[in-house]
């Protein structure tokens, strides 16, 4: 209903961007949980996205599953694989983990390149377009709310603690491997959910949609906004989804400007836009300013 109203009142182009922002927020919040909060550098988030996209698309097109069920199936498939590869790989650290996640995403991509039911290199078309503004943004609100709840809980704090200092976290009684696998599984689930929304918006998907560049794009959003911060991630997504659109004016220099802006932002805000900004800090800064006046 709301969707029908919106399609009539808002320009299709803007509506499309808003839907992409929503999908990207869900994807990026998943990656934020893994990389931003828990500090485990994952460079293969698009792999989980493609698992969700393909699983849900196949459920819809070949089994006529209802949309909700297809989304759930995609998310669970991604979560299952997140869990499966999380167990052996999360004993690795930093660069090594990054390499394994890149490798995993490539394996998934090549798998779908050769996967019959997924249409191989041709891709999968005829996916019903079920994803609309309402569904996406209701899910965004739910995901943000649950994310917030989690991060303010005992378990959420232990995830931050792992990022900050693993040995100290263990000395506080945190089973770090188990918590890392948990973060990885939930993060992958969100990746799969975003993938399902994506495929049911695009009608058509193919393995190239979920390549290494997609993973990097998502990582950029999390890093730019501020690792570990939910509002930061949301802002990072909004900026990096809109920016390429606005840069269409400069045409073929688009990527050049995009890169330059990223470099400039990272020089001036090395912790990301909101990486180390809390309500408390803003209030303190405000009070200090008032005292000066």
């Amino acid at each position: 209903m709301l969707d029908a109203f919106l399609t009539q009142t808002i320009d299709a182009y803007y509506l499309r961007i808003m839907i992409f922002i929503g999908i990207n927020i869900i994807l990026a919040l998943g990656l934020n949980l893994i990389t931003g909060v828990t500090g485990q550098l994952s460079m293969g988030h698009a792999g989980f996205m493609s698992l969700g996209a393909y699983t849900s698309a196949i459920l819809s097109t070949q089994l006529d599953a209802p949309f909700a069920l297809a989304l759930l199936g995609g998310a669970l498939m991604a979560a299952f694989f997140g869990f499966l590869i999380g167990i052996p790989t999360l004993r690795l650290e930093g660069d090594y983990l990054a390499m394994v996640t890149i490798g995993f995403a490539e394996i998934i991509r090549v798998f779908f390149l050769n996967f019959g039911p997924g249409g191989k290199a041709v891709g999968l078309s005829g996916i019903p377009q079920e994803t609309g503004f309402t569904v996406v943004w209701l899910l965004v609100i739910a995901v943000i709310f649950l994310n917030r709840q989690l991060l303010n809980s005992r378990v959420g704090r232990s995830l931050y603690a792992i990022r900050e200092n693993e040995i100290a976290a263990e000395a506080c009684g945190v089973n770090t491997t188990r918590m890392k696998v948990l973060a990885f599984t939930v993060g992958s689930l969100l990746g799969g959910l975003g993938g399902g929304l994506y495929s049911h918006y695009m009608y058509y998907i193919n393995p190239q949609d979920f390549g290494f560049m997609k993973s990097i794009e998502l990582l950029n959003m999390v890093v730019l906004g501020g690792l570990g911060s939910i509002p930061g991630t949301v802002i990072g997504v909004i900026i990096l989804t809109i920016l390429p659109e606005m840069l269409r004016i400069v045409d073929e220099y688009r990527l050049l400007f995009y890169g330059a802006l990223l470099v400039i932002l990272m020089i001036f805000r090395p912790n990301g836009l909101l990486g180390d900004v809390r309500v408390y800090d803003i209030r303190k800064w405000w009070d200090k300013r008032r005292v000066k006046e």
């Binding site: 809980s153 378990v155 603690a161 000395a171 506080c172 945190v174 089973n175 948990l182 180390d276």
Partner: protein, 254 residues
């Protein structure tokens, strides 16, 4: 009866024998000191007790329970808290959150409880917060509770680390060079503080320290390590007058 019983513990790294058949026995509510020259194996001993290293040989009992081979987080949950020689705080977490993470080992609410905000988890959160505030009060950091841990002064960071370790409700507390980098006045305060928490919380405390004045003043018993071996053990007076200790550590004429 002893709270910690270490029997012929050895630790090898490649060909190096960092700890060589050390046996120790620490009684409940004792303040026990471990001293020795650099590289004598003091911190290694702490890392063995807290499960970071699995000893190559020997047996380790905590409250009559074998803990060698257990994972660090399980050992922490049994009630062994520790601080680190090179401070290991959660720098980008608030002071209060640092202590709250310290409560992890003695609280239970899990993933779903946190995600859905279940009443049991909320109740536990309240308790965690009030207990953490008590501990911050004890170490005099209440006013700084919202600051990032990395923004605290050095001495404050040391105190915060102790508060975080105490959040586990430990019965055994390991302090790795608690007085490092402190001036005489601060050390004086630290000694009073260590005695106070021992009495208030019925703690057993083992500390590694280089400051002889501090160790001799506060410890009831002391073990001296040199090249991974225990060369002496006893009261401060006994240790101070031990020939081998003077030779290898205190220095002739000290």
């Amino acid at each position: 009866m002893s709270i910690l019983e270490m029997t012929k513990i050895s630790q090898e790294f490649g060909g190096l024998r960092a700890v060589d058949a050390v046996s120790l026995s620490v009684s409940p509510q004792e303040i026990f000191g471990i001293i020795g020259p650099n590289g004598a194996g003091k911190t290694t001993l702490f890392n063995i007790i807290t499960g970071i290293y699995q000893p190559t040989e020997g047996q380790l009992l905590f409250q009559d329970r074998r803990i060698d081979g257990m994972a660090p987080y399980d050992i922490a949950r049994l009630g062994i808290g520790r601080t680190f020689q090179n401070i290991r705080l959660f720098s980008k977490l608030s002071v209060l959150d640092n202590v709250r993470v310290g409560r992890f080992g003695v609280t239970r609410s899990g993933f779903w409880s946190g995600l859905l905000g279940l009443p049991g988890g909320r109740r536990e959160e309240k308790e965690t917060k009030s207990r953490s505030m008590e501990l911050l009060e004890m170490v005099d950091l209440t006013d700084k509770r919202h600051e990032y841990a990395e923004n605290l002064a050095y001495g404050e960071q040391r105190r915060l680390e102790i508060a975080r370790a105490l959040a586990l409700n430990p019965s055994l507390l390991l302090l790795d060079e608690p007085g490092a980098g402190m001036n005489a006045g601060e050390k004086e305060e630290l000694m009073a503080f260590i005695r106070r928490i021992r009495d208030q919380l019925n703690l057993t405390i083992i500390l590694v320290e280089h400051d002889m004045n501090l160790v001799m003043n506060i410890c009831e018993r002391i073990a001296v390590l040199d090249y991974g071996r225990k060369i002496a053990e006893g009261t401060p007076t006994q240790v101070k007058n031990d020939e081998r200790v003077i030779q290898s550590y205190l220095g002739v004429g000290a």
